[in-house]
């Protein structure tokens, strides 16, 4: 069994929260100071899904610190997982699927690092992982479900079953996953960290409740009043947020619902580099896009303005 007791120990996880300040105060800081909260060996849960609302600015800033021995968990892992593998930043990936999407085929980086045993790959079903985060968000050590029963996935993480005390039915006791840190990108937040997401919510709200430390970027920091006029749009409570950074295009070239579309052509260029040079293709990409730029603005400047504007126009066309 590969899940560590720390992942489902709701008692210890709760005591970590009890020991934290839960402030309604200001949370705005820089990308650099925000990711400085991550320690080597931490379990990092990543928000968004595949190439949607990925907290790329936070991952960009985190990898520049050359972290080691991280565990990364995400519902569907996209190329941020490949970056971490090639950067030597992670020992383990927890997800239900890894790749970019059908047109780009299998992830050669996943194959190379997992088949060689350099990175442990812990697979859950998509709902299974979602329930792991939700159990933690609810402050319980497990949630009952029918999913994954009978499959070989039950053995991967060491899942156990439980008998319902009322019906006698056997259910999968999906173990909670309490990450050390959650990295999340949202559409807007006030400076206190009350965050709002447009469109599909993915698993971000659960991840923010499950983690001990929440690091968040927002496309836009809005006045307190704007959040208070639409409180039914808020999904992340400010007191749960430790650091907040305003980052327009904070998921680019991944998409952000309603604001900008993804850039499949860029994904193709990235994957062509891997097809040509294998892991070195990613290493070269990291040098150019992650380690090279002096700032995230410089990273964005590596993409033509016209592309970003087109991506925004496509997003408007698809959501209005």
């Amino acid at each position: 069994m590969t899940i560590a007791p720390k992942e489902y120990d709701f008692h210890a996880a709760r005591l970590r929260l009890e020991g934290k300040a839960k402030s309604a105060g200001e949370k705005v800081t820089s990308l650099e100071s925000a990711v400085a909260r991550v320690r080597d060996g931490d379990h990092i849960a990543i928000g968004g899904c595949l190439y949607s609302r990925t907290p790329l600015a936070l991952i960009w800033a985190l990898l520049r610190r050359r972290p080691k021995h991280l565990t990364l968990s995400r519902n569907l892992m996209s190329y941020e997982g490949e970056w971490a593998m090639v950067a030597g930043a992670c020992d383990k990936v927890v997800t239900s699927w890894m790749g970019i999407g059908l047109p780009w085929g299998l992830s050669r980086i996943q194959r190379e690092y997992v088949e060689s045993g350099r990175v442990e790959f812990e697979e859950w079903s998509h709902l299974g992982l979602g329930l792991r985060f939700r159990a933690a968000a609810m402050g319980v050590p497990f949630l009952p479900s029918l999913t994954m029963l009978g499959s070989s996935l039950m053995d991967v993480g060491g899942s156990r079953t439980i008998e319902c005390p009322y019906t006698g039915a056997t259910l999968h006791a999906v173990p909670a996953l309490f990450p050390d840190v959650a990295l999340i990108h949202v559409h807007r937040a006030d400076r206190f960290g009350n965050g709002q997401i447009d469109g599909y919510p993915h698993m971000d709200a659960d991840i923010a409740r499950a983690a001990t430390t929440v690091i968040m970027t927002a496309e836009d920091i809005v006045p307190d009043e704007e959040i208070r006029l639409h409180p039914d749009r808020t999904v992340i409570p400010g007191f749960a947020v430790d650091a907040l950074v305003p980052v327009p295009y904070g998921s680019y070239p991944h998409e952000c619902y309603g604001l900008y579309d993804a850039e499949p052509d860029h994904f193709t260029v990235y994957v062509d580099g891997i097809k040509r040079d294998g892991a070195k293709g990613v290493a070269d990409y990291l040098e150019r896009y992650v380690y090279g730029p002096r700032s995230y603005a410089d990273y964005l400047a590596l993409f033509p303005d016209s592309a970003r504007h087109d991506a925004a126009a496509r997003a408007r066309m698809l959501t209005t």
């Binding site: 309604a24 105060g25 968000a137 609810m138």
Partner: protein
Amino acid sequence: MSVTANELLAVMGARALKDDTTVFAGVGAPLLAAALAQRTHAPRLTMLMEGGILGPSFRPGELPISTNEMRAAYRAQMLPGITDAFLLAQRGFLDVGFIGGAQIDRHGNLNTSAIGGYAKPAVRLPGSGGANDIISLCREVMILTVHEKRRFTERVEFITSPGYLGGGDERRKSGLLFGGVSRMVTTLGVFDFAPPSRRMRLIALHPGVTTDDVQANTGFDVLVSESLTTTQPPTEKELDILRMLDPKRQFIG
């Protein structure tokens, strides 16, 4: 003008709240306590209300009658819904919970359900509402109540909201791994429930109140702390804020 019972409870409750924390508060004295703390020493305090309302503002003169109405949600920061609001407490996000009056026993257990049997009671009370959840799930709970002999009974016959059950470590043994009643503020004084006995103990008297007054208004023997102190009366500033919030004295009385 003299200090009313709810003004006294609200002021004492407010003083017990710290900045950069969260509080689960219902309507009446608890709401006034939290709102007062935010306007004095705890500007970064976040209030959560049972109706699933997080970070409300309040319009002076428009305080809510229930925790699920627009006056409670006025200019709130988030409306997570009732179940998810309580789950934030279960997760450990709520530092303090306030609960109000009821039938209370020497170990801080509360009965708001039934007197004289459950199925066909002599007196059917309204029920738990969220009181059981708040006292079970918050990091610590403070009880705010008027002090009347009929409320303070040796042993409640029905435990709607668990304090320390039979005392000692019975609360933990029951599976309630967290929290407990840290303080009780009444109209006569302040009490704790110290280990190992977890029995209600007088630790401070309000000005002009004697231990005999407390004993005379309590249905069982009251323990008294050796370091018994006296509380500071509400200040003009504190009372002014409460009266600004509730000019019609709907809640402060």
